[in-house]
Subunit: 417 residues, 2 copies
Amino acid sequence: MLTVNPSRLLDDLRELSRIGATPEGGVHRPALSATDLQARDWFRARAAAAGLICRQDGAGNLSAVLPAADPTARTLLCGSHLDSVPYGGRFDGALGALAALEALRTIQEAGLQLPFHLEAISFTDEEGTHISLLGSRAAAGLLTEADLEHPHSSPEAFAAALERAGLRREELLTVRRDPASLVGYLELHIEQGSRLQDAGLEIGAVTAIVGIRSFWLTFSGQAAHAGTTPLFARRDALRGAASFVTRAAEIVSVDFPPGVATCGQVEVAPGAFNIVPGRARLALEFRHPVAETLDEMEAALFALARECAAVHGLEVAFASVGGVEPAAFDPDVVAAIEAAAGALGLRCTRLVSFAGHDAQAMRAITPAAMLFVPSVDGLSHHPGEYTRDADVINGANTLLNALLILAGRAWEQERAH
Amino acid sequence: MLTVNPSRLLDDLRELSRIGATPEGGVHRPALSATDLQARDWFRARAAAAGLICRQDGAGNLSAVLPAADPTARTLLCGSHLDSVPYGGRFDGALGALAALEALRTIQEAGLQLPFHLEAISFTDEEGTHISLLGSRAAAGLLTEADLEHPHSSPEAFAAALERAGLRREELLTVRRDPASLVGYLELHIEQGSRLQDAGLEIGAVTAIVGIRSFWLTFSGQAAHAGTTPLFARRDALRGAASFVTRAAEIVSVDFPPGVATCGQVEVAPGAFNIVPGRARLALEFRHPVAETLDEMEAALFALARECAAVHGLEVAFASVGGVEPAAFDPDVVAAIEAAAGALGLRCTRLVSFAGHDAQAMRAITPAAMLFVPSVDGLSHHPGEYTRDADVINGANTLLNALLILAGRAWEQERAH
């Protein structure tokens, strides 16, 4: 079986991790920042050194291409992203982008002539410094003018970032890839959780990415004097919100596995030691891989909030702050990952991704799936994020062989037509 | 029986409420602000118009005095304060100061010659715009240099306020009244709660002011990815804090009546929809009239916090942010209030004050107590704060007659020695 060059890939990972390196051992490469642009230059140089063609689209998505003999051939994509969250880790994104580059180099060195162009792609701003999944959503035709008007940073910061990267706002919505030109998309990523480690497994074949819904829950009661208002007479908004926080986790654990719900922020008004809270605004986010179950979770959590409000004499209002629908991956691509892992003798399981990834955008235009390798202790978005060398190599080899399996199957299907 | 001039008192209240009046029907007279100084000028003019002696001490405490024939006589004090919380109500403080003034005028008009100087006093900054109970604690010798160094506003704002009022910082600690010169202190105040209204009673004879303790409780866990971290694996600081909020109110209700506990603020870190809270800082305040019970409440609430932390794999730390010990009032002064109310045919009950007042400072140097009149719906520190005319007059008459009873008893005691 074809396998990657382990020391070349590990050296690349080490070298890339020096760009934006932080004293704590992580990297700081927010999308389109100076360090992100430096990482892109380095990637271009590595691709060129390998004799691969280098390309960048109008959304800043950066590709190394190993062309097929036939220039009209379709393209098989693999990749991830070079940007990081602020003060994040060395593996999130970087592993997938460099393993994709390494897969192309390995195939090229082996002298394999595939019937498809192979493209290792790094998408712009996966982490959403400005706009989450900016590059992959642009490539999938999912990015909208409305998205561009509400960057997470600020319109000014976003405009400055585009200019720094030599990108033009008006081109961002024009880079959609033609589905007919694509064979599929594969993405290797660290798990960012500890299920593989806990189960002693080496590869996760990701069958779906959870859907996410986010709401502000505003509990409204009556601000009152913290001394002269007896406990029974209070309409304490924080008590309602606290009761919801406590019970929401229980309900989701029991009734909606493997879903998760998080209350990540609370804002209390007036917000003083000696005033009973009149208002408490709670950030609620919940995730599940199945769309219908996500609806049921929403109904159950809203009913709980209304009950917690009623018990304390409060009103509760719900304001959506966006969401992502669950994304099921292509069964054939998942099967190719399992087949590759099996052929390599690696212990593999199917699992769901609880975090968003570029693959969930790309699946809109081409058969896609992801594979995970273990993260030590599940640490991620953290300078201590770490994946062992052996797992890096296992992941890259599985990616490489899954690409070959997919290419083979797609070629058989083309010929059968 | 001697009774006050109802229309004169109600007119005074109305006139005073125009100083710093807000569109919502309340008043904005933070201590030593322009409106507070205007209110003081108005009070001086009213006292002078009644032929009373006007005085101000080095802490800005403003007095109208009806002198006894004997210049070496002791002084019987009554009063409250003219300042308000920002955008507060018309009765908190103002009622007690004006009823005291009216009591002096009534005694003077009746031609009563008391064996004591009578003094209607308005204390500086009861509400703590700069320093809580500034004037009464200065008069009681309880104010310290440390207090002056940490005003609630800022050292600059406090210095500017003193200058505006013509006060000098170095004089604030020199105005302690000699206990041997005092007979007692009586303060009429609105209830700021609804116990009198709910029970259909007219006068509350206040036997004690609750002690107050305030702490920041910091629950510390582990910030984590809100998708990839399963619910069972989380060390969610907000879940620990929420569980505490929910259960603290239950414990205090059941085990520590008539105590109250309030969580008035929460600060969550990192504080994002998609991050499990690693830290939650909770503002806890609790009150009880009995010192030993306050100790027991503290122990029970801390034990609860430790238990809530342990259940969620958290640490919890406690940081005191000050407190006030419970203040029991003088039984003879309370009895004088009850006797006065009884003589006037008013329905009276003993109760505890859950809010702080100048009387709790003054009791350190002289026998003191307070009387409450109903606040409609318990509303206070609010523009809608309201006490009916009849209750205003009942309160003033009870204050007046309690002063006469106290003066009579004190005179008997003096003669008996």
